[in-house]
């Protein structure tokens, strides 16, 4: 599998889609911070001090969480779909499979590198957030106090996990449809529309008897995990129905499920 990882990294390290995604992530962080900063400086009935407090370095981990789902997840679905689907469009799947590694080893290398890129995108989010929050603090004359290293690590882990779930979903869809266009279309619709409709329907169906099912949707768990970082500065809206620990377990299970589905499809099907 080392050979597959080396090959996958060599071909994906400068892949335009990943570089554009990294730039997009950095751009989104800058945009969110810029808009929030502008609103903080031009408050409309809001408490300026509290709003600005949200933008200082000690709160940057909480702010970054907002970029994880659904925006970060959507980017991850697209990348996962491209990584798997374009191998069919370019006929490169057959080229790779007739080299030495077996099918599962090839897929393993592909997933490891996709997961590594999800880590890079997470790092870009955090670096962008940290940098922008430091700029805000310097401009506002506020002292720079960073969150505890453990909190930063937890935040990075949470975002990475959310991106990994969506990335592996995109990869599974890319292999299922043997192309990227359908895969990213279906993936994005599932992520942003289908899941919301399903959750709303199940929540109201039969007086909410089956509402517990919604606690197993990946989107619900991703949202729950990311919102578990919400700072007391902003206040908790309501007691969470899904705990962070359960969310982590469910999301890890989703990653494993999508990888197993990808492996089964790739192993069983002919490459025509």
């Amino acid at each position: 599998m080392i050979a597959s990882i080396k090959a996958e990294w060599r071909k994906n390290r400068m892949r335009p889609a990943f570089l554009v995604a990294a730039g997009l992530m950095a751009g989104v962080v800058a945009l969110i911070y810029s808009l929030d900063w502008y609103q903080a400086l031009h408050p409309v009935g809001a408490d300026r001090a509290v709003t600005l407090a949200m933008l200082y370095p000690d709160q940057f981990v909480n702010n970054i969480m907002a970029a994880g789902f659904p925006l970060g997840a959507a980017v991850a679905v697209v990348l996962g779909a491209l990584v798997a689907g374009s191998e069919y469009a370019w006929s490169t799947l057959k080229t790779t499979l007739i080299q030495r590694p077996g099918r599962l080893s090839t897929l393993g290398g592909r997933f490891v590198v996709l997961a590594a890129w999800m880590g890079i995108l997470t790092a870009v989010l955090f670096a962008g957030g940290a940098a922008y929050s430091a700029v805000v603090a310097l401009f506002e004359g506020h002292s720079i106090v960073w969150p505890a290293v453990f909190d930063i690590a937890k935040g990075i882990g949470a975002i990475w996990l959310v991106l990994a779930v969506s990335g592996s979903l995109g990869m599974a869809l890319g292999i299922l449809f043997r192309q990227s266009a359908a895969a990213l279309g279906v993936g994005l619709i599932y992520l942003t529309v289908l899941q919301l409709i399903a959750v709303r329907f199940i929540t109201t169906f039969n007086g909410g008897t089956y509402k517990w099912i919604t606690n197993w949707f990946d989107g619900q768990n991703a949202s729950a995990l990311l919102s578990s970082f919400t700072s007391p500065v902003f206040g908790h809206a309501a007691a969470p129905t899904i705990g962070a620990q359960q969310a982590v377990l469910v999301l890890v299970a989703y990653v494993a499920f999508f990888v197993v589905v990808s492996a089964s499809l790739l192993r069983q099907r002919d490459v025509t």
Binding site: A7, W90, T92, K94, T95, T96, I98, Q99, D270, V271
Partner: protein, 299 residues
Amino acid sequence: MTVVETSGLTKRFGNGVLAVDSVEMSVRRGEVYGFLGPNGAGKTTTLRMLMGLIRPTSGTATVAGHAPGDPAGLAKIGALVEAPGFYPYLSGRENLRVIADYAGVDQKRVAEVLDIVELTSRAGRKFGSYSTGMKQRLGVAAALLKDPELLILDEPTSGLDPQGMAEMRKLIKQIGQGNRTVLLSSHLLPEVEQICDRVGVIRGGKLVTESTVQELLGKEGILVKAEPVDRAYEMLKSMFGDALVSRQNGSIRLETDPAGSLEVNSRLMAAGIAVSELRPVERSLEEAFFQLTGEKQGS
């Protein structure tokens, strides 16, 4: 010793199409084997089964001493199956480096194979900007990376202009020298005739024959043009027997050693028959192919 051996190899796709039907194929070590057949005959499907890309419905195959798709076997095989598939955003050289990583081959080999296919000067360009000929060359280079015992090339001259085809044939002849075995799939008869030692002809998914090119062409004969042709025909039949004499577009074909031309000429002349042409002929591979595949020439 055989490098590729199949037994009852069959592939029926999900839509019911029988693409390959009980193929018994045998490729010997060190030979250039031509896998010949019209488009859609089942050549590529067979090759994909040999590479482990497609699972056979039934039958077995051994390739380089292993089951198709076995990593130990793939380590000894280089292949270009149909159009070469590479990453368009990477250069030719970077594409080969990726393949070398997959294959566990030293990166130094990349420069060597680029030299072999004469692509070194253009290896820094992105694959997406390559011409068809350059893409095919890069495909051959990728197939050579492992310095394979068995090289499988599926329609390597497909899409090339005449000059590109000639260059590719020269390249295949060159890399097929020595102990390396080459399995060349093609629907181009001159290509196979020029390059291959033995051929297998596939038609409608069935391997209809497997022999040397010489065996397939049959023995040489003599073509005679003479006047009056009817008298010449009768006389030659009396000399060689009915089975060895046939009429062909106003000429007479004798299935006999061309060394006997002198005697044929003198006997006809002595009988007062004017001979305007007398030359050795052999059945072209094209004729043999169309006869075997049941297709009409020029159709």
